[in-house]
Subunit: 425 residues, 2 copies
């Protein structure tokens, strides 16, 4: 069946479900950092964070087979696997996060975190950024503004301009003064809630502002924003669905961005492809959530989630992926920075760990975002056998985010091809 | 580690997550309809609908291992597995349901269905029953009234008394007249939305009213309610998360309850334990949902979901589980009815297919619900090695819902033990 026929068939049964690339790829096999299409063409995966320990990772496949062949039931029976996994995961966080609720998707984790913040504080108001994405349920979509019109923002949510140094809130302002400008926005949101008699529940942000486009965050913003929120009676929620599990070069993005959250959501790479997510918080916040909601999730906290989640942690530790995420990410950024000389379109090389963002512009002095250019780069690199994408508030940030098992020789293959592509476009 | 110690450890890391039974069971292994605890004690599973083709089903384990060892990526690349699965699943529904959106959990399916109904009709108002459960997200919880106070119902939702013959809306009314009384409630909800300028989106019900307690539904109620909703511009949504996949003795609960839905949600047994859910509807409704939401779910529509979902359908068909669900369910009900003579507590033996509900009362003439009695039965049967539970609007309905691979000799083991238990309590 041709690609065109397959797209038509897909449209018939799934509707206009999103697809990548001008000519989509038809992937049939994966192994480590490699994906193979139906014609045997090999692609270096520079996009997928879910298979963090590699496509078809043996440890994960074995854990899944072993557990599914032994037992997989819901969580209203006792099972030690989920307790072992929960304790190991919580040990990777600070002492303040000592309890956890499991779920299946990032959206479900965001739902739990929202409800936990609201029940825990007695408030309703949530501050988010104006280009965030936290999921797709009715309530969570209200703070997923990257896919919404800002005009429809719900009365219980306030969006602040996402903090960044590249296009600062006021032109020419930098450093601590810029931090203060963004903090003023947080305070204004808090004050606006107060004047509308909407008690604050908290602030909800991705620790590294991934969907916003991985901006350099003005120094101290996150920790000082958390202070403002605490002073006003709210909690600070870190969305680690993209940032977590060594992606940022630290175990958690909140370490990279230097703040301490009250609630942490986790997802995507957590099960290397098995639907698995979770929300860590203090025992008090979890207790309040539990008593107010009687929350139960048929598929979560299961022996299968525990076994697979554990295998992912094993693989990350066995293969030293924390260290290699930090080192190879720095290597990629440093090499990509040398390419800025010959390519004016690359206005900034940003990111942390194995998560790189390239700000793609048509005019560097005017900082004119070039979304079409970024899309062309993604399509051109795909033709060369490298899968990446574009993202960010303006869609003009090239998003490079390979599985964590990515190695230096993979980086060099990519850099050579990327350099070649720059000469062609 | 003792049960007490394990409960304390669980409380520390998971908070007060719900547990079954006065003394919870510590299950370590499953096979077919059997579960085994850490001491090797064997339990006949009379509760779990998720492992519909049996605990540790080989076809499912193999499909999972095979697909996870080959490829598992998100759905923005082409993959034929999900199209094959989607088409096969849609073929099991009527022609009007020709498009599908996949997700991970029942809650996510309910969210999609809600959003689809609202975007598709331009309305907001949703009619549900007063003892429904459709999931736990902020919006879906508003129509999950079995776990909420009726007083907090949101302005966009109206709850009608769930239709039943056992405790009819007006004492002494039965047959078509009773159906009309419940239809009047639907019409009143429609009228109330209209008078509050809330345009109707639709009505959302479990096809067999499982959480309500599997009542006998007054004849014709569902199809006539759907007509009223259609006339008022709404859509009729069947929650098949519990009812579907041969549970009711038909492929779908809406066949058993004799109506044609516009939107169908599916979940629980769909992946035999892999998080997998979906929403089937007309191409028009799916298109409207897609264009309004740009919905994407990281873990859904994946090669893994497709392979496992397909293996479940294979197992259901290979083992003729549709037929055996209908036959063994009837056998169970007929044998249990004979026990009503010696046990006044069993006021009604209800249900469809392998889903049996026993209305447990302390006084049969006054129909006094006896929740504590039902809980005692569940605990007593657990001690005898049979896992079941209590459910329903008043918590007094004994819920018997074994995996579909349940056979006649299992039924006889259960019936003997149940009869024995009746003599003891």
């Amino acid at each position: 069946m041709s690609i065109t026929e397959q797209i038509a068939r897909r449209e018939r049964v799934l509707g206009s479900a999103p697809l990548f690339y001008k000519e989509p790829v038809h992937i049939v096999r994966g192994e480590g950092v490699w994906l193979f299409d139906i014609d045997g063409k090999r692609y270096l995966d520079m996009y997928n964070n879910v298979p963090c320990v590699g496509h078809a990772n043996l440890l994960v496949v074995e854990a899944m087979q072993q557990q599914m062949g032994t037992l997989n039931v819901h969580s209203r029976y006792l099972h030690e696997g989920i307790l072992d996994y929960a304790e190991r995961l919580l040990d990777l966080h600070g002492d303040a996060l000592d309890s956890i609720v499991f779920a299946c998707s990032g959206t479900e984790a965001s739902e739990i975190a929202l409800q936990m913040a609201r029940y825990g504080t007695g408030g309703r108001g949530i501050i988010c950024t104006d280009a965030a994405y936290h999921g797709n349920s009715t309530e969570v979509a209200k703070m997923s503004l990257i896919s919404r019109s800002k005009q429809v923002i719900d009365s219980d949510f306030r969006a602040i301009p996402f903090p960044q140094t590249y296009r600062p809130l006021h032109a020419g302002v930098a450093g601590p003064e810029l931090t203060q400008l963004y903090l003023n926005e947080v305070q204004a949101a808090i004050d606006d809630f107060a004047s509308n008699n909407i008690p604050l529940a908290g602030m909800f942000v991705c620790s590294i502002l991934a969907n916003e486009g991985l901006p350099d965050i003005p120094p101290g913003f996150m920790s000082q924003a958390a202070e403002l929120v605490h002073t006003a009676g709210g909690v600070f929620i870190a969305d680690e669905v993209q940032a977590g599990f060594c992606r940022s070069g630290d175990w958690w993005g909140y370490e990279t961005s230097d703040f301490i959250p009250d609630i942490v959501t986790m997802g995507k790479p957590m099960g290397n492809g098995l639907p698995l997510s979770g929300v860590a918080a203090s025992a008090e916040l979890v207790a309040s959530f539990r008593s107010n909601t009687r929350y139960f999730n048929t598929f979560a906290s299961s022996p299968l989630q525990a076994a697979v989640g554990m295998a992912v942690l094993d693989a990350i530790e066995d293969e030293n992926l924390l260290k290699s995420s930090a080192q190879l990410g720095d290597y990629l950024r440093s090499e990509l920075k040398t390419m800025q000389h010959k390519c004016n379109a690359i206005a900034e090389v940003r990111g942390c760990g194995l998560f790189v963002g390239l700000e793609w512009v048509s005019d560097r002095s005017k900082k004119t975002p070039d979304r079409e250019g970024a899309v062309r780069v993604a399509n051109s690199m795909k033709e060369k056998g490298f899968l990446l994408s574009n993202a960010g508030a303006r869609g003009n940030v090239i998003k490079i985010r390979p599985p964590l098992v990515f190695q230096k020789d993979h980086a060099d293959l990519f850099l050579t091809a990327f350099d070649e592509m720059l000469g062609e476009i």
